[in-house]
C-alpha cells in the first residue's frame, strides 16, 4: 500500500512538472512576449525596442532557465539593462536587486504580479478560489446525494418503469452542457419572458452575499450536467451488485427488499461512484469556467478566462498550476480511495 502511494505520488509529480512546463512554454512563446512588451511598455514600440525590453527583463533567457527560475529551483536573474538600470527577478519595487533573496519562484510562494488586476497573483488566486469553493461546495451538496439517490433507485430494479424514467432523466442531463442549461434556465426563471421570474440571472451579488435567489441557478446549472453522469455510473454499479450471488442468497432467505438494498447492496455499489465523483473534478472545472462567465460570478474560472484573454502571463501560469494540482490530487485520491474501499484489492 505504502509503495503504491509512493509510486503514484512520483508519477503525479512528474506529470505536474511536464504539464506546468508545457503551459510555461506556450505562454512564453515569442508572440505572447511581444504582445506583453507592447502592452506593458509602449504600444508603438519598434521591433528593436521590444527585443531590448524583453532582454532587460530576463525574458530572452533560454526556456529551461526561465522555467527553473519561475519554479524557484534556479536563482532569479539579475540583469544590468542596456538602459543602465539593474533589474532583478526577485527584487520588489524600490529594492536593490543585489539585496533581494536569491530564489523566488512558485515553490517560495512568489507567484508573480498580475498585469490585468495590478495585484499579487497569489492574492488574486486565493480570493477567487474562495468564491469558487463556495460555489463548488454547494454544487457537491446538491449533485452527489441527488446523483446517488437517482442511481440507486434506478439500479435496484433494472428495467422497471422507475429505472426507465430516471435513466431518461440522466441521459437528458448528460446531453445538456452547462452553456445550454444555463441559458435555458436563465431564460425560464431569470427573465420575464415566460412569466416565471423567480431567480436572478446574474450571480455577481452572490460573491459577498449568496442567497437562494441569486445562487440557485449557477449551482443548479453545474450540478445538472455532472449529476447525470454520476447517476449512470451508480446505476451501472448498482445493477451489477444486484445480480451478485450474495444478493440472490439473501432474497432466497426471505430478507425484505428494502433491507437487501440498504444493508447488503448499497455499500458495495458505492465504491465505483466514489472514483467517478473524484474524476469528475476536471470536468467540473470546465463547468465552473462556463458558469462563472455566464453568470458573471468572479471566481477562479472567471479569472482564467480574464487572464487568458488579456495575455496576463503570470496570472495564467498561477491559475494553471492550481488547476493542474487540483486535477492531479483528485486523481490520486480516487486511486487510493478505490484501493482502500475495495476489500478485494486491499487484502491482496
Amino acid at each position: 500500500m505504502g509503495l503504491f502511494i509512493l509510486r503514484r505520488l512520483g508519477v503525479m509529480i512528474l506529470t505536474a512538472i511536464c504539464l506546468t512546463f508545457v503551459v510555461f512554454w506556450l505562454t512564453n512563446l515569442t508572440p505572447n512576449l511581444e504582445k506583453l512588451a507592447k502592452t506593458q511598455g509602449n504600444a508603438r514600440m519598434s521591433d528593436e525596442a521590444v527585443v531590448t525590453f524583453l532582454e532587460n527583463r530576463g525574458y530572452s533567457q533560454p526556456l529551461p532557465i526561465k522555467y527553473g527560475q519561475w519554479i524557484g529551483l534556479l536563482p532569479g536573474y539579475v540583469i544590468e539593462g542596456t538602459d543602465g538600470e539593474l533589474r532583478g527577478r526577485c527584487a520588489e519595487p524600490g529594492m536593490n536587486p543585489t539585496d533581494a533573496p536569491k530564489f523566488c519562484g512558485v515553490l517560495q510562494g512568489e507567484w508573480g504580479f498580475s498585469t490585468r488586476f495590478k495585484e499579487d497573483v497569489s492574492q488574486i488566486i486565493s480570493t477567487r478560489l474562495g468564491h469558487t469553493a463556495k460555489l463548488m461546495g454547494l454544487v457537491m451538496l446538491v449533485m452527489v446525494p441527488g446523483a446517488l439517490i437517482i442511481g440507486v433507485l434506478a439500479g435496484m430494479r433494472e428495467g422497471s418503469r422507475t429505472d426507465r424514467t430516471l435513466s431518461t432523466f440522466s441521459i437528458i442531463s448528460t446531453a445538456t452542457p452547462e452553456y445550454v442549461s444555463g441559458v435555458v434556465l436563465i431564460a425560464l426563471f431569470g427573465t420575464a419572458t415566460f412569466g416565471m421570474q423567480i431567480f436572478k440571472g446574474n450571480a455577481n451579488s452572490a460573491m459577498d452575499n449568496a442567497t437562494f435567489e441569486n445562487f440557485t441557478l449557477p449551482v443548479l446549472t453545474i450540478a445538472l450536467y455532472g449529476m447525470g453522469y454520476i447517476a449512470r455510473m451508480t446505476r451501472a454499479s448498482m445493477t451489477e451488485v444486484m445480480t451478485a450471488q450474495y444478493i440472490r442468497t439473501a432474497r432466497l432467505k426471505g430478507v425484505a427488499f428494502r433491507t437487501i438494498v440498504l444493508k447488503h447492496a448499497l455499500r458495495n455499489a458505492l465504491i465505483a461512484p466514489f472514483t467517478v465523483i473524484m474524476l469528475q473534478f476536471p470536468w467540473l472545472l470546465n463547468g465552473v469556467v462556463i458558469v462563472e462567465s455566464l453568470f458573471s460570478y468572479k471566481g477562479f474560472g472567471w479569472t482564467l478566462v480574464e487572464a487568458a484573454s488579456t495575455n496576463d502571463i503570470e496570472l495564467l501560469l498561477g491559475v494553471s498550476v492550481v488547476s493542474v494540482i487540483v486535477v492531479l490530487s483528485t486523481q490520486l485520491i480516487s486511486d487510493i480511495g478505490y484501493v482502500f474501499l475495495n476489500p478485494r484489492i486491499r487484502i491482496s
Binding site: V11, L14, T15, C18, L19, V22, V23, L26, T27, L29, T30, P31, N32, K35, R157, S160, R161, T162, T165, I171, I172, T174, A175, T176, P177, Y179, V180, G182, V183, V184, I186, A187, G190, T191, T193, G201, N202, P282, L285, N286, V289, I290, S293, L294, G301, L304, V305, A308, S309, N311, V319, S320, S323, V324, V327, L328, Q331
Partner: protein
C-alpha cells in the same frame, strides 16, 4: 402582412388538446413513480397450460393511461407539423411555417424510416436499432439534423434569409416579426425573430447545423484513427511502449480542457504555427492506419498489395498534403496547381484541438479493450498460424472490439459537439460572425437578461442533437448486448 403567432389558426383547437394531454402524461408519470415504492411491481405468473398472465392490476391500469397520454401528445405534435405543411403559408403560425419550410427534411426522414423498418432484418446492427424505441428516437433526432445540414449545406435550401444579412429595424425583434416594407426577400417574416445584429435567427440556426454536422463526426473519426493506431500496439505489446504512451495520454487528460483551448486557439499561438505542426502530426495517423491495415492483410500477395497501396496512399497523401499546406502558415510548399483545397484556417485550428483533446480517451478505451481481448483463443490461434502482430491487432482484435467502439463513437460525436459549442461559447477559433451554435449562444447570452429569444433556438438545437446521439448510443448498446 400580419406578424405570426406561434400556432396561428390551428392553435385554437390544438393547443387545449396538447395542454390537457401533457398534463395527463405528467400526472400519470408522477403517480407511477410514487406508486412504484408502495405497490408491488408487475409480475408474470406462469399458468399450468403454459401461458403467462400479468398480475398487478393497478399498475397496468396507470400504464395504459400513460401510453394513451403519450400517444395524444405525439399525435398533437404530428398534427401541428402536418397542418403546417398542408395549410397555406401564415395560417398555421410560426410552427406551421417552419414545418412547411422543412418539408424536404420530413420527406427524407419518412423515407429513411420506412425503408429501414422494411428491410431491418437484412441490415445487421443498424437494422436492430429499429427494435428499440429509445434507439429510434435518437436516430430520428440525429437524422433530422443530418438532413437539415445536408439540404442547407449542399443545396442552399431551407434557409429563409441570408444568415449574414442584416435588415434594419429587426434588431432583437420577437419571433414571427414582419419584414419592413420594401425589403427584398421571398419570406415576409423572421420566423424565429432577429438577433442583436438584426439577422434572421432561424436561418442562422439552420446554417450553424452545417458546421457542426460537418466537423463533429469527422473530428471524432480522426480522433478514433489516432486512438486506434496508438492504442492497439500499447495494449498488445505492453511494456515500455505502453508505459510511455499511457503517460502521455494521462498528461493530456489531466490538462483542463478550457485552459488547453485558450492556450492553443489564441491568435498569438496560431501565429507561431503550433496548430499547423499539430495538424501535420495528427493527420498522418489515418494514412499510417490505412497503410498498415492493407499491408498486414495482403503482404503475402504483392501483386494485389502494391497497386492497392499505391492508389490508397497516393490519394490520402495528396489529401494530406493539400490539407496541411496553406498560404500564410508554417507549411506553404505545395504549388498552387497541385494544392487541391484550402480549409478556413480557423476551422482547421478548431478541428485540430478537438481531435487532440479526444484522442487520449479513445486511446485508453482501445487499450483497455485490447488488454481484455488479446488473451482470447482466436488470438492464440492466429499467433500459432504465424500471423504478424499487426494482422492480429487490425484483423482479429479490432473487428471483435467494434461493438463498444461504435457505441463510444456515437457518444463521442455528441461530446465533440459539446466541445465545439464550448469553443464557440468563448469566442475561440471560429470567426465571430460564424453561425455555428456555440458562437450564436455566446452572442445571445450577452443580452440574455433583456431579450431571451436569440439564445434559445441554438441552445435547443445543440441539446437535441447531443440528446439524439446519446439516445442512439444507448439504443445501440442495448441492441448489441442482446446477442
Amino acid at each position: 402582412m400580419e406578424p405570426l403567432s406561434w400556432t396561428g389558426a390551428i392553435g385554437a383547437f390544438l393547443n387545449p388538446i396538447l395542454l390537457i394531454s401533457i398534463a395527463c402524461l405528467a400526472l400519470s408519470l408522477i403517480i407511477q413513480f410514487v406508486m412504484s415504492f408502495f405497490v408491488a411491481e408487475l409480475t408474470l405468473q406462469s399458468n399450468a397450460d403454459g401461458t403467462l398472465a400479468q398480475r398487478g392490476g393497478i399498475h397496468s391500469g396507470i400504464e395504459r393511461v400513460t401510453k394513451v397520454a403519450f400517444m395524444m401528445v405525439l399525435l398533437a405534435a404530428i398534427f401541428y407539423l402536418l397542418l403546417g405543411v398542408l395549410m397555406p403559408y401564415g395560417k398555421a403560425g410560426i410552427i406551421g411555417a417552419i414545418s412547411k419550410r422543412l418539408l424536404p427534411v420530413w420527406i427524407g426522414l419518412i423515407l429513411t424510416f420506412a425503408l429501414s423498418i422494411k428491410f431491418k432484418r437484412k441490415l445487421g446492427l443498424y437494422g436492430k436499432l429499429f427494435d428499440s424505441t429509445v434507439g429510434m428516437i435518437g436516430f430520428g433526432l440525429v437524422m433530422f439534423w443530418v438532413f437539415i445540414a445536408f439540404f442547407a449545406g449542399g443545396f442552399d435550401m431551407l434557409i429563409t434569409h441570408d444568415p449574414l444579412a442584416q435588415i434594419s429595424g429587426l434588431k432583437n425583434k420577437v419571433p414571427g416579426v414582419v419584414l419592413p416594407e420594401g425589403t427584398a426577400g421571398d419570406w415576409p417574416h423572421y420566423l424565429l425573430g432577429g438577433d442583436n445584429l438584426a439577422r434572421d435567427i432561424f436561418s442562422r440556426v439552420i446554417k450553424g447545423s452545417v458546421i457542426v454536422i460537418a466537423i463533429a463526426p469527422l473530428a471524432t473519426l480522426f480522433a478514433f484513427m489516432v486512438g486506434i493506431t496508438l492504442g492497439l500496439p500499447a495494449g498488445y505489446f505492453g511494456g515500455k511502449l505502453d508505459t510511455v504512451l499511457s503517460f502521455l495520454a494521462n498528461l493530456i487528460l489531466a490538462f483542463p480542457v478550457i485552459l488547453l483551448f485558450y492556450l492553443l486557439v489564441t491568435p498569438e499561438i496560431v501565429a507561431t504555427g503550433i496548430p499547423s505542426f499539430m495538424a501535420a502530426f495528427l493527420f498522418i495517423f489515418p494514412i499510417v492506419f490505412f497503410a498498415v491495415l492493407l499491408n498486414s492483410r495482403y503482404y503475402t500477395q504483392p501483386s494485389k498489395r502494391t497497386p492497392m497501396l499505391i492508389v490508397v496512399l497516393g490519394v490520402l497523401g495528396w489529401l494530406y498534403l493539400s490539407l496541411i499546406s496553406q498560404a500564410g502558415t508554417a507549411f506553404n510548399f505545395m504549388p498552387a496547381a497541385l494544392d487541391g483545397f484550402d480549409i478556413n484556417h480557423g476551422i482547421l485550428v478548431v478541428f485540430v484541438s478537438v481531435v487532440f483533446v479526444n484522442s487520449p480517451t479513445v486511446f485508453r478505451i482501445v487499450r483497455g479493450l485490447v488488454l481484455d481481448l488479446h488473451t482470447r483463443d482466436y488470438v492464440a490461434a492466429a499467433q500459432t498460424r504465424g500471423e504478424g502482430s499487426w494482422y492480429i491487432m487490425l484483423w482479429e482484435i479490432l473487428p471483435n472490439a467494434r461493438g463498444p467502439l461504435i457505441v463510444d463513437f456515437c457518444l463521442r460525436i455528441g461530446y465533440t459537439t459539446i466541445l465545439l459549442g464550448t469553443l464557440g461559447f468563448f469566442g475561440l477559433g471560429l470567426p465571430p460572425e460564424s453561425p455555428d451554435w456555440g458562437s450564436t449562444i455566446n452572442e445571445g447570452r450577452k443580452l440574455l437578461l433583456i431579450v431571451a429569444h436569440p439564445a434559445l433556438p441554438p441552445a435547443i438545437a445543440l441539446l437535441s442533437l447531443v440528446l439524439g446521439l446519446n439516445l442512439l448510443a444507448d439504443g445501440l448498446r442495448e441492441e448489441s448486448l442482446k446477442d
